[in-house]
Symmetry: C3
Subunit: 341 residues, 3 copies
């Protein structure tokens, strides 16, 4: 188990110790569950009550919270970021295997760096290139001609189709699919004619892709996910979508074909964005909103309606349906009686 003194931790995150600098810390924990050898953190003042009663050996806090901290403190300007760095020190590292598991199948025409790991029941097709430090957990497949940059990790049962380029230090969770065909069909007399999906997918560096998220390949050009993009679970990214750097998208959102999303956007859970739109940089879209037009300016956009008690809600929906009649009774401004009075 890893061990650090409080002063070592302070040095690592660039903070100040207030209290016993020699205290040994062997793990992170929440304020309410921490013991004497743990360090906790306070980043949200709402948890100040838990701070008062914590049994943690030390707590990461902003300097202004020092007075509320009943134990040793590690003072930093951004406690949550410092916590993230410290937690990483205590996190169990994957075993660091290298080589090809005997129960994996790798094409003779694939190139695998000697420091990479190909786990059991993986399949790696011809023309694939897997760089140094990559880790493929059990049951992944990588289709022909695809590339994985240095240190990229597929947790397990990940599907990378053919012709996909993935950058360095990406983390892709189980069940994610990258490079499935876009949804493109031409209307025929009877039924639909498939439009070949011949583009690829290009994924930048430091991208995280959640469990069971799907990213389709482009029709002719590539679907592009920028550096530092973070995608939660169960997200659908359609063909030819482009997502700018450092944008984050929460679970169950869906982005339709050819839409371009700017940099540093924050798209909440369950949002749907129609196709062929342009979303500016620094746009926030709140949960379960439906975006049907391009958004040219940074800001917060919404159309989700908070749930209410069912009887009240049903009356509101009924009222909404009769709004036309209500408006007619009130009349147009010009003929409005209040203006006549």
């Amino acid at each position: 188990m890893a061990n650090f003194t409080l002063s070592e931790l302070a040095e690592i995150v660039g903070g100040q110790v207030s209290g016993d600098a020699d205290l040994t810390i062997d793990g992170v924990a929440t304020l309410s569950t921490a013991g004497r050898s743990h360090i906790g953190f306070l980043s949200n003042p709402a948890y100040r009550k838990q701070l008062a009663s914590t049994r943690a050996g030390a707590v990461i806090v902003e300097p202004r919270e020092r007075e509320h901290c009943p134990t040793n403190a590690l003072l930093v300007s951004e406690p949550y970021n410092a916590y993230a760095r410290i937690a990483a020190l205590f996190q169990e590292k994957p075993a660091g295997e290298r080589g090809i598991h005997p129960a994996a199948w790798v094409s003779g025409d694939a190139w695998i760096h000697e420091s990479a790991w190909i786990g059991p029941n993986c399949s790696v097709e011809a023309g694939v290139r897997i760089e140094a430090g990559c880790h493929l957990g059990p049951g992944c497949f990588v289709g022909s001609g695809s590339l994985l940059g240095e240190g990229t990790r597929l947790v397990g049962n990940v599907s990378i189709c053919h012709g996909v380029r993935i950058g360095s230090r990406c983390l892709i969770h189980p069940g994610a699919v990258v490079g499935s065909d876009g949804f493109g069909f031409a209307k025929e007399q009877e039924g639909w004619l498939k439009v070949p999906q011949m583009g690829g997918v290009v994924i930048g560096d430091d991208v995280e892709i959640g469990a069971n998220t799907t990213i389709d390949r482009g029709a002719l050009e590539d679907t592009v996910i920028g550096n530092g993009v973070k995608l939660d679970n169960q997200i659908q990214i359609a063909h030819n979508v482009q997502i700018g750097e450092h944008t984050v998208i929460a679970g169950c959102a869906g982005i339709s074909g050819s839409t371009r999303i700017g940099k540093r956007c924050a798209i909440a859970g369950g949002v749907g964005i129609a196709g062929h739109l342009e979303i500016a940089d620094d746009v926030t879209i709140t949960a379960m909103s439906l975006v049907t037009r391009s958004i040219a300016r940074s800001g917060v956009y919404s159309s989700g309606i908070p749930a209410q008690e069912n009887g009240i809600w049903n009356r509101q929906v009924a009222r909404l349906r009769r709004l036309e009649r209500l408006a007619q009774r009130v009349g147009k401004p010009e003929s409005n009686h209040r203006q006549k009075e």
Copy 2:
């Protein structure tokens, strides 16, 4: 093929035969497709018309429906429950294999009960414990240190990440992922810093998890799914969520991080629940509602709007957008002409 007389079935489910107690039944079927050797059921009076014309050898009905039943009847107070028990008698049982398939890979440091089955192309990592009667269909992986309780079944291509504890008699469908990283990042100057996800997932007994449902591991503590919870397909459960016993959640719902859901709740399809909320016991949430606040009392809650003909709907949305102006024309209660009259 299994065979039971009607009186044997009555004994099994605690019901009464009205008619030929010696009739042999060899299967279950719907009222409209059943033949002489089948038993059907009526649990919804809306199907009474089909009862009248059924060719079933027998029908499971409430006593008060006896008069409408044109054939032998098995009288019980809860026909759907009795049907479920009887159907299970006729269901083909999985082959009951035991052992480790030669095309599976199992770590030498995993413990597998001799009555468990590890199917082809499965991967079982070090420190895993798999109890009696477990069944892993093809292509599953179980990450290091995870536990599967007695009689738990993974249908195939299921991903169980490291450090996950699953109870007894659970059923997990293909593509489900348990233990993927929660979606946690701290904002940096540029981009996002990953917050290590160091908690686990604890799943109770008798839990069913649908196809392609995802359950993230906790950040520091565990994500917890209570006994008897039933999750449909394509559900997203974020980190640190807690779900109380016997709650059911329908397809495509999403529960955001750290939300706690009570016991015996019923959450319909496509519902989204924001993070850090508390939902009481016995709460029902109707389809495609968005829950943004905690719910303290049992009851039914909604915000889904039923679809209408598109032209009508567009006018309603336009009216909603002009509601501010309409309200201004009507004026505030104090200045309202009706009160002045």
Copy 3:
């Protein structure tokens, strides 16, 4: 690389060349990226600007667009369909393997046509029948007794459970699950009793199933997907659903149990349809709508609300909540002052 003269392409799609019929074409491209040996297309007049500046060797256009085309033209009445056919000529064909990969496992009781391909890490159970020209990419499993018709392709990591019948020329993308249990439980004193899901799934010919889409097996009868149906990614189809021929469903939609959808319907992304409904033929449902009643007539139906700037939206929601009071102030038609005046 494939090569065709412009006149050969015209013959294949039944069009007319305007310009150099002997020009050699070796690929398709967008108007903005095409070079001299590429053919592009214009199907949407919005892209006429790109047509004006294209460097493509030839462009597929309607005859009436000939005058705007600065290069050789292939004149057809339906440019997008002609493009789809021509693109298919240039698409890289999968390698055309046949046989069983040494790293696959196939039951001795399965029947595999000699021209089919079973890829690495696939599992094929007893009683399975796989017809001529089928292609199973890496990591697929096919459960006992299931059938795959001629030329059907599972891209990789696809899960086909037991007792599923799939037609000819289907294409199923990674992570898709066909034949998982429907979500059926009977309420008990405490908790839920599983209702055995004993039906199957029947999928017609020329069906496409997107990545991570799930299709549950029927409870007693079959879930049925008609010929030519196209399903995008992350769609949930519940037990006993029937979908008519040539219907298309976009990503993240969910169809609840026992609902029957007609032929040639178009269901947009994120739509939810309640259970036990009947949707007529030729119905269009727009994005993120919630359908709670049967739809008897062809037409377009909606309940999705387009997002707006958050402050404006919040005021509209607040107004909606006070609509009851507003309506009371305006009064009922009979007592309305405007009628009295």
